[in-house]
């Protein structure tokens, strides 16, 4: 079970509170987590990753085990504590703008 935290605006869109829990078969990477997230909450398609390219939106950041992994390969394995559900995969809106 993977735990994912969403920023407030995306919680509202997905109509969830707190953490989301996802089942993932196979390797746990940014891509597999986001694929699972979007499959369960299709209203989030395009809000974290861009349509088509599936690139991370510029003002969205990813944290795993409290480390910023935004610039890591989307296919790189996430830390064990995330893969085993001890620590959440955090999707964060960058602190910028007003």
């Amino acid at each position: 079970m993977i735990r994912v935290t969403l920023p407030h605006h995306l919680c509202v869109l997905a109509q969830v509170e707190g953490e989301v829990q996802l089942e993932i078969d196979g390797e746990v990477t940014q891509r597999t987590v986001l694929d699972a997230l979007e499959a369960r909450f299709p209203m989030l398609c395009g809000t974290v990753r861009e349509h088509g390219t599936l690139r991370r939106r510029p003002r969205v950041r990813f944290f795993a085990n409290l480390e910023d992994v935004s610039h890591e390969s989307p296919d790189a394995p996430l830390p064990r504590v995330v893969a085993e559900g001890e620590s959440p995969f955090m999707i964060v809106g960058a602190i910028s703008g007003g």
Binding site: G46, T47, H51, G93
Partner: protein, 394 residues
């Protein structure tokens, strides 16, 4: 029994203001989509319960919301009670998928436009500025987007497809972003000719299609813009807003970056009608619902000073289709007022007398129920208002 519903888009959500035909007391509902920028909210002319909203964020992108009950409840098309995945298990959340059409069959290559520094820059989707529901089909809506392009849905917002002939026009490489981005912000549908569509782009100018959006021609002859290298160029003009009267769609009115303009030939040529305005800089322009020659603008000082002259918020009305203007001040602040009224933030109802409404960057929404003679605020402290639309509901 007539009711009036005002759809307000703001920097931090959408609000719905409702009244009976007397337009004296109003209820305020919202915020919807709190914390998100709502660039535009507009209802279908043939189904007032069907409303579309453009919800957007620099962080999380574009969302299209749809209501089927006059704004009481909302859904993202293809979400809600509908299937969330395809039979193959793939997500179906495509109501916010605005992808430029580069297909060989219908699209154009992903061309470039002129960037701020004069170099060429590829088109990049940022947001939907304007939603224009079809005049005869509640499931068909046009969307004007940044970077400037026109999209259309025919399935109630579940999917959007670019009308690529506009972006692919040969003048495209000369289009340039305005200060707010390179946006297609105005879409006007001709009620007497289903194939005729007008749109306006900052900063490219005004375009017209006579074949339902397949091909387009710039219609900027007569515009004179001192801030571009060739003041009378075919494209490059910063048109802020255009408007028509439905009974007379061959007459167009325009608020340009500077200058209020008028065309009597469907946009083929334009002439200035700024006349005695204290400033001919502004954003919105609206036409009285029953008097095709009565128009309204809200002058501000300049492109550097986006606030009204002398700190006085004044709507100017011309009953002669331009040239001769009168200030409308009763009920509006006449000292220390430094708000702006953005291009999509003024609208008229179809009641009699005509109601005029506008929202300000200071969060006020003002209403006049007597053709503009007098005004009163409906609300004073909303977030900055981006758009105002009105539904007159029988």
């Amino acid at each position: 029994m007539t009711a009036i519903r005002i759809l307000v888009g703001t920097r931090k959500g959408a609000f719905i203001l409702s009244s009976d035909a007397r337009r004296r007391t109003w209820s305020v509902d919202g915020p919807h989509f709190g914390g998100w920028e709502v660039y535009h909210v507009k209802g279908s002319p043939v189904d007032p319960g069907r409303i579309y909203a453009s919800q957007t964020s620099s962080w999380f992108g574009q969302i299209i919301q749809r209501s089927n009950d006059g704004g009481k409840t909302w859904e993202q098309p293809a979400s809600g009670g509908e299937a969330k995945t395809t039979p193959e298990g793939m997500p179906k959340g495509e109501s916010n998928k605005f992808v430029y059409d580069t297909s060989a069959e219908t699209g154009r290559p992903l061309t470039t436009h002129q960037w701020y520094d004069g170099t060429q820059h590829p088109w990049e989707f940022a947001r939907v500025w304007h939603l224009e529901p079809s005049l005869d089909d509640p499931d068909t809506v046009y969307a004007g987007v940044e970077d400037a392009a026109l999209f259309r849905t025919t399935d109630g917002g579940r999917s959007w497809h670019e009308l690529a002939g506009l972006r692919g026009h040969e003048s495209g490489p000369n289009w340039t972003p305005g200060a707010g981005g390179m946006c297609l912000h105005t879409i006007v549908l001709d009620p007497t000719n289903k194939d005729r569509i007008f749109c306006a782009i900052s900063a490219a100018g005004t375009f017209r299609s006579d074949d339902g959006g397949t091909t387009w021609k710039p219609i900027n002859q007569g515009l004179h813009s001192l801030y571009i290298p060739d003041p009378t160029a075919e494209v490059g003009h910063c048109v802020h807003r255009i408007a028509i009267h439905p009974n007379n769609p061959n007459i167009l009115f325009m608020q340009k970056h500077w200058d209020v303009m008028r065309s009597d030939d469907g946009g083929d040529s334009w002439r200035e009608v700024s006349g005695n305005l204290p400033s001919d800089f502004g954003f919105p322009i609206a036409v009285h619902s029953h008097e095709p020659e009565t128009i309204y603008v809200v002058p501000i000082l300049s492109d550097a000073l986006h606030y009204p002259p002398d700190g006085k918020l004044r709507v100017y009305r011309s009953r002669s289709g331009g040239e001769e203007w009168e200030p409308l001040t009763r009920g509006l602040p006449q000292e220390h007022c430094y708000v702006n009224v953005l291009r999509d933030a003024m609208a008229v109802d179809t009641a009699d007398p005509c109601g005029i409404y506008f929202g300000t960057t200071g969060g006020q929404v003002y209403a006049s129920a007597d053709d503009g003679d007098s005004w009163a605020p409906i609300v004073r402290d909303l977030p900055a208002v981006l758009s105002v639309e009105v539904q007159t509901i029988s």
